[in-house]
């Protein structure tokens, strides 16, 4: 089949359709995923095609959805759960952390939890509270879970199918402000398909390694383009998998560049950037020319829409951090040289 141009939202939708078609044990659960097709229309048309027995609108209760999914997994199903927005995942936190994540360990491998939890996440859409959060670090800190995030339609399609096929539970973070980003999508898995754990170098460079994932990969690429006008060569890595992290790929890059900038929308303190900085410092200590820099959301609750530009990392803040690791004039040295 030839690649087709799809939005990321459709790319995930076609991934779900394929999973439903390929495996009768795949079932979708969530709020408003049926007739409405989800508030982002990711599941559009799926209930019509596969019936309400495979694509189930559930009562409005996230713990209920996840707990029910655990029971379905016990029975041999592969539930794919939609959490309507990032900020609504917390009522299900106990079921995810204490049950989904631990059941395989608890039962010495007897019971698998092939549950995929789809979470439209992140900001930049001018929404009200609880609709723009980046809670990934809560889950990457939870042993037993796998966590991925997609940054483009092809990965979105491939990763959702890999996530559903995985016998481990997977948190699947969908960068909602990129749902309408278009790109080629090839539905066939080829030999060149990356494993779900692998990071990808999305732009090669020599001076600085810039690590991003999800919504900020596009921003990172923009920053790299802007920097190249300034003669700075940035290597951009899209992590794709947030747990585990493909540190090998990052390490190889940092060994060459000697400089690392990490970016995510989530709050900085205890965010994934801390783990990346700590792990890469550990692995590349004598190759680092400067301390890894983090460009992240600030340590405040996600702010009201008119302030989100002062919370979210953007091109300028990324370039400022690049200047910092390169020892150039930057906001911390004082802007004037």
């Amino acid at each position: 089949m030839m690649p087709t141009q799809l939005t990321m939202s459709r790319a995930i939708g076609t991934g779900l359709r394929r999973a439903l078609a390929d495996d009768p044990k795949v079932v979708l659960l969530g709020e408003d995923i049926g007739k409405l097709g989800g508030v982002f229309r990711v599941t559009d048309g799926l209930q019509e095609e596969f019936g309400p027995d495979r694509v189930m609108d559930t009562p409005l209760a996230e713990a209920g959805i996840l707990g029910t999914a655990v029971g379905l997994a016990f029975r041999g199903y592969r539930p794919v759960v939609e959490i309507q927005f990032d900020g609504f995942i917390y009522p299900a936190f106990d079921q995810i952390v204490a049950q989904v994540a631990k059941m395989h360990y608890r039962t010495a491998g007897a019971v698998t939890m092939p549950i995929t939890i789809r979470v439209p996440y992140g900001g930049g859409i001018g929404a009200v509270e609880h609709h723009s959060e980046s809670p990934e670090a809560y889950f990457t800190h939870t042993s037993g879970l796998r966590v991925v995030s997609c940054s483009n339609p092809q990965d979105a399609h491939t990763l959702i199918r890999q996530a559903i096929a995985s016998d481990d539970p997977v948190l699947f973070f969908e960068p909602k402000r990129r749902y309408w980003m278009k790109g080629d999508v090839d539905e066939e898995f080829g030999a060149q398909t990356l494993s779900m754990e692998a990071a990808r170098v999305v732009r090669e460079g020599t001076d600085v390694t810039l690590v991003a994932y999800g919504p900020l990969v596009a921003t990172a690429l923009d920053a790299a383009t802007a920097a190249s006008d300034d003669g700075i060569s940035i290597e951009v890595i899209d992590l794709r998998s947030l747990s585990p992290i493909d540190f090998g790929t990052v390490e190889a890059s940092v060994r060459r560049t000697g400089r690392l900038v990490i970016t995510h929308e989530a709050q900085q303190f205890g965010g994934l950037g801390a783990e990346i900085a700590a792990s890469i410092t550990d692995r590349c200590f004598f190759h680092l020319e400067a301390a890894p820099a983090r460009v992240t959301g600030f340590d405040v609750p996600y702010p009201p829409a008119k302030l989100e530009e002062h919370f979210l990392p953007d091109l300028d803040r990324l370039l400022d951090a690049v200047d910092r690791v390169l020892g150039r004039v930057n906001s911390l040295t004082g802007w004037k040289a």
């Binding site: 009522p91 609709h131 600030f298 405040v300 302030l307 906001s331």
Partner: protein
């Protein structure tokens, strides 16, 4: 088939323990959709003292809150608000309940209770701060006796319960009211709130607006029984009331309030109504809702029936109607002007009020970001 729960309308007469029990899930209604006043031995007394002026006041409230709602939807369509959750069709449920409260009562609501907020005395401009994105809440809860809305479905039911426990501890007869929707009845929090309210005999009212929808999901997905049937099993008496009948809602609410104030504990009220508009301005009900059902409910409009009733009583002249309409237009104009006057917050306020006392980590981030921003001002 099996019918196992009884919604208890004798509650209206909660002093009289020897009353015969209600038989089922019928609605309390005092005004028919055509505006005829039907008498109800149990509930009539609760609104017997409502004067003609007060009746007209309720009518004006209904008209005004609908007008504000319409204006807000227009503002959203014009790009002035990011989002708006219309209350069209739910005016009577909100006005009838909110107008029953005292100023020392305290409301914990969801996002759709803009008419409740209006009745509590929230400033017009404060209704839109959140939806325009200039603030994460509109008002100081203590100024109006109403918390800023909870977006997490069901969370506020527990807050109301805790507040009510506090009222009881303080020995005052203030009451806490939790407003929530039909969808919210499925959340663990809402059910735990009933457990705690019953266990501590808290003076709290669970006011559920059953508008038949949770976004695209019909109420039948949440419950096969009337929602009011849920509470008795927790030891909380409940009522079903015609939510499009402002008088019935007021009677039910006053009854429940009196019960709470006099040590009777919690009550659950299901106000049966209909969401005539979309879930929010982002929603497209044509994907899931049956227009015929909406038509059926249009015939039960809360304003039309109050209008007919007041006209029948000779209280509402054409002149009075026109005056109410112009008051509403006036309010809508002020509302719009207030909205448009809202300024974007200053960048560094993003760091304010995370903590009530200085926090070393955040102070550092703030000063670093201030230095960063200063570069733009001084430089480029």
């Amino acid at each position: 088939m099996l019918r196992a729960t009884v919604v208890d309308h004798t509650l209206a007469n909660h002093a009289a323990e020897d009353e015969p029990k209600g038989t089922g899930d019928e609605l309390v209604q005092l005004l028919t959709p055509h505006g005829e006043r039907v008498s109800n031995r149990l509930f009539d007394p609760w609104i017997a003292d409502v004067s003609p002026e007060q009746l007209l006041g309720l009518y004006e409230d209904l008209v005004v809150v609908r007008r504000i709602d319409t204006e807000a939807t227009a503002l959203q369509r014009q790009g002035e608000l990011g989002l708006w959750p219309p209350l069209l069709g739910q005016e009577a449920a909100q006005v009838g309940s909110a107008r029953s409260l005292r100023s020392d009562d305290f409301v914990f609501s969801s996002y759709r209770e803009n008419a409740v907020a209006y009745c509590r005395g929230v400033e017009l401009v404060d209704l839109v701060r959140v939806w325009r994105g200039t603030a994460s809440s509109g008002w100081n809860p203590y100024d109006v006796g109403m918390a800023t809305p909870a977006v997490i479905i069901g969370a506020q039911t527990l807050h109301a319960t805790g507040y009510a426990i506090g009222c009881a501890k303080d020995g005052v007869d203030s009451v806490a009211v939790a407003y929530f929707g039909d969808g919210a009845t499925s959340q663990g929090d809402t059910n735990e709130a009933m457990v705690f309210a019953a266990s501590f005999h808290a003076p709290v009212i669970f006011f559920c607006q059953n508008n038949q929808w949770a976004i695209s999901e019909p109420v039948t997905l949440q419950s096969g029984l009337p929602l009011a049937a849920r509470a008795p099993g927790f030891g909380i008496p409940s009522l079903r009331v015609d939510g499009n009948d402002v008088l019935a809602v007021m009677a039910a609410m006053r009854c429940a309030l009196d019960r709470a104030r006099t040590g009777g504990g919690p009550t659950f009220i299901e106000a049966v109504t209909y969401r005539m508009g979309p879930h929010t301005t982002s929603d497209d009900p044509s994907r899931y809702a049956d227009p015929a059902e909406r038509e059926k409910w249009a015939a039960k409009d809360p304003i039309a029936r109050m209008e007919a009733y007041l006209e029948g009583l000779g209280l509402l002249t054409d002149e009075a109607k026109a005056s109410v309409a112009s008051t509403a237009d006036d309010i809508a104009r002020r509302f719009r002007a207030g909205c448009l006057s809202l300024q974007d917050p200053a960048p560094l306020t993003v760091f304010d009020n995370v903590y009530s006392t200085p926090h070393s980590g955040l102070e550092r981030q703030k000063s670093q970001y201030a230095a960063y921003l200063a570069g733009f001002e001084g430089g480029a």
